[in-house]
C-alpha cells in the first residue's frame, strides 16, 4: 500500500509541476487582456499589475502619478467575475496625528498605610519609606492602564473616483497637475470568502478569476499657441 501511495504522490507531483507554474498566469493578465489606448503616445507603465481574485475580495494597488503627465488606467477581468467590478481611486497621504495610546501592564498591588511615619508597622505589615501617609505591598498584582499621547504617522485616504457612480466604467484617463500617491482599490462583487480570516478556505474554482490593471502614461500634450508668439 505504501508503495502505491508513493507512486501516486510521485505521478501527481510530476503531472502538476508545469501546471503549478502555469497557475501564475494572472501575473501578466493586463498585458494580454486589457485594451490599450488608441492614442499611440501612451506607453505601458511599469506600475501595471494583475492578480487572482475571489468573489467578494478587495485588494489595493498603490501607485505614484507624476505632474505633467497624462495617465490612462484600465481594468480587465475574467468574465466569471461579472461586469460590475468596483474600481475606486483614492489619494493616500501620510499624516502625523496625535493619538492616545493605552498600554496595559500588571503591577504590584499596594494598600495604604496611613498610620506609619517613616518606618513602622501598620496592622502587622512593614511600611517602608513613607512619610506620614504611605503604601505597602499586598503581595497581589493589579492591571494598570497608562495613557500616553503620541504623534503617530497615519495613512489617510480620500476618495477621488468611484466607477460605480460612472456606470461601472473600466477605464479612466486624466492629466496630473501635481504628483500624487494614489491607491486603486478593486472590489469583486459576490459573497465569496472576503479575504480576511483563516488562511484556508472553501472557494469554488468558478468564484476566482484574474483582474488586470493596465496603467499607461504619456507627457501631457501642450495645447494652444504656446511659444508661437501669438
Amino acid at each position: 500500500m505504501k508503495q502505491h501511495l508513493n507512486k501516486i504522490i510521485f505521478a501527481v507531483a510530476i503531472i502538476s509541476t508545469p501546471i503549478f507554474s502555469f497557475g501564475q498566469y494572472c501575473n501578466n493578465f493586463h498585458s494580454s487582456y486589457c485594451y490599450t489606448s488608441d492614442n499611440e503616445m501612451f506607453k505601458l507603465n511599469g506600475q501595471s499589475k494583475s492578480a487572482l481574485f475571489s468573489k467578494g475580495q478587495t485588494s489595493e494597488l498603490s501607485i505614484v502619478v507624476y505632474k505633467g503627465q497624462d495617465y490612462r488606467i484600465s481594468l480587465c477581468m475574467d468574465q466569471n467575475l461579472g461586469s460590475q467590478v468596483e474600481f475606486k481611486i483614492y489619494e493616500t497621504v501620510k499624516k502625523k496625528v496625535e493619538k492616545v495610546i493605552e498600554t496595559k501592564s500588571m503591577e504590584n498591588e499596594y494598600k495604604k498605610c496611613t498610620a506609619c511615619n517613616g518606618k513602622g508597622d501598620n496592622d502587622g505589615e512593614m511600611c517602608y519609606d513613607c512619610e506620614g501617609a504611605g503604601k505597602v505591598e499586598t503581595g497581589g498584582e493589579v492591571e494598570v492602564v497608562s495613557k500616553e499621547t503620541k504623534l503617530v504617522e497615519e495613512r489617510v485616504k480620500e476618495l477621488l473616483y468611484d466607477n460605480s457612480a460612472d456606470n461601472y466604467a473600466t477605464e479612466i484617463e486624466f492629466s496630473v497637475e501635481s504628483t500624487r500617491r494614489l491607491t486603486i482599490e478593486i472590489s469583486v462583487p459576490g459573497s465569496g470568502s472576503g479575504g480576511t480570516g483563516s488562511k484556508t478556505k472553501l472557494i469554488k474554482s468558478g468564484e476566482m478569476g484574474c483582474v488586470g490593471i493596465l496603467v499607461e502614461h504619456m507627457t501631457t500634450p501642450i495645447t494652444g499657441f504656446y511659444g508661437t508668439g501669438f
Binding site: 501578466n28 507624476y66 484556508t200 478556505k201
Partner: protein, 298 residues
Amino acid sequence: MKKQSKLALALLISFPLVMFTSCGGNDDVEKMEEVVEAPVEEQQGNETYYQIPSPDEMFGFIKESGLAFNGELLNPIQNADKYVTPNRQALNFGIYSADLAYTASFEEFDKTIKYFGTIQKLADQIGISSAFDKALLERIQGSLDNVDSLVSVTNSSYFSVVEYLEKNEQGDKLGIIAVAGWIETVYVVANSANYKKDKAAIERLADQKLTLENLLDYLGKYSDNADVSQLLTSLRELEATYATLSEESSGSGISLKKKENGKMVLGGGSSIKITEDQFNAIKAKVSEIRNNIVNTEA
C-alpha cells in the same frame, strides 16, 4: 502512513483547482465552474500591492525637459565581473537596468547594446536568464535604428524580469533590483540637473519622496531577508533627508474632475517644495548609497 494518504488525496483534489488558477481563458471557466469545491490555500488576501515606476518613465521625462546625457554617470560595464555575491549581483543588475534605460532614452545605441549584454550576463549569474528569451534578443537586434522601438524593447526586457520574478515568487529579489534601479535613476537625475536652471527635473526629484514611500512599503514586506533589511537601512537614511522637504498647499482640496475642455484633471491639494540645500543633501545621500552599491572593492 495516514499522513501520506492525506497528502495523496490533497494532491488529487488540488489538481483541477490549480489548473483553474491559470486564468488563461474564459472557456475553461464555464467548464470548471460546477466541478470543484475543496479547501484551497488562499490565493490572494485583501492586501495592498506597492508598485514602483520603471526607470524609463523618469528618463523619458528628463530627456523631454532638456537634460543632457552624461555617460560618466553610468556604472562601467567592466565592473560587472567584480560583483561576486548574489546580493551585489542583484543590486547591480538593477543599476545596469537603469543605465540601459538611460542610454536607450537618449539614443546612445552603442552603449545600449553593451549594457544589454551586461545585464544579460548578470541575469545568468542571478538565475533569471529565462526572462530573456531568444525573441527578445532578436527584437533588440532589430531595433537598433529606431529609438522608439529600442526604448520599447529595453522596457520589455525590464518588464520581462519583473514578470519572471513575480511568477517565481521572488518578491525580495525583485524589490532589491527595483530599488537599485530607482537609486540609479535618482542618482543620474540629481547629478545631471542644475538647481537654478532645471526646474522640471528638480521638481521631479522632489516628488520622488512619494515613490520612496512606496518602495519602503514594498520592501517592508520582505524585511526578514537580511539583504533587504540592509537596503532598508540605507533607504531610511534617504527618507530622513526627504522628510525635511515641506509641502505647499494650492489653496484648494485635491480633486479629480472634468475640466471645461472635457478632460479629467487631477489637481489641487499640496505640492512638495525643495530648497537648494535640500537638493544638495539628497544628491549627497543618494550618491553615497549608489556608490556603495557599485563599489567593486566591497
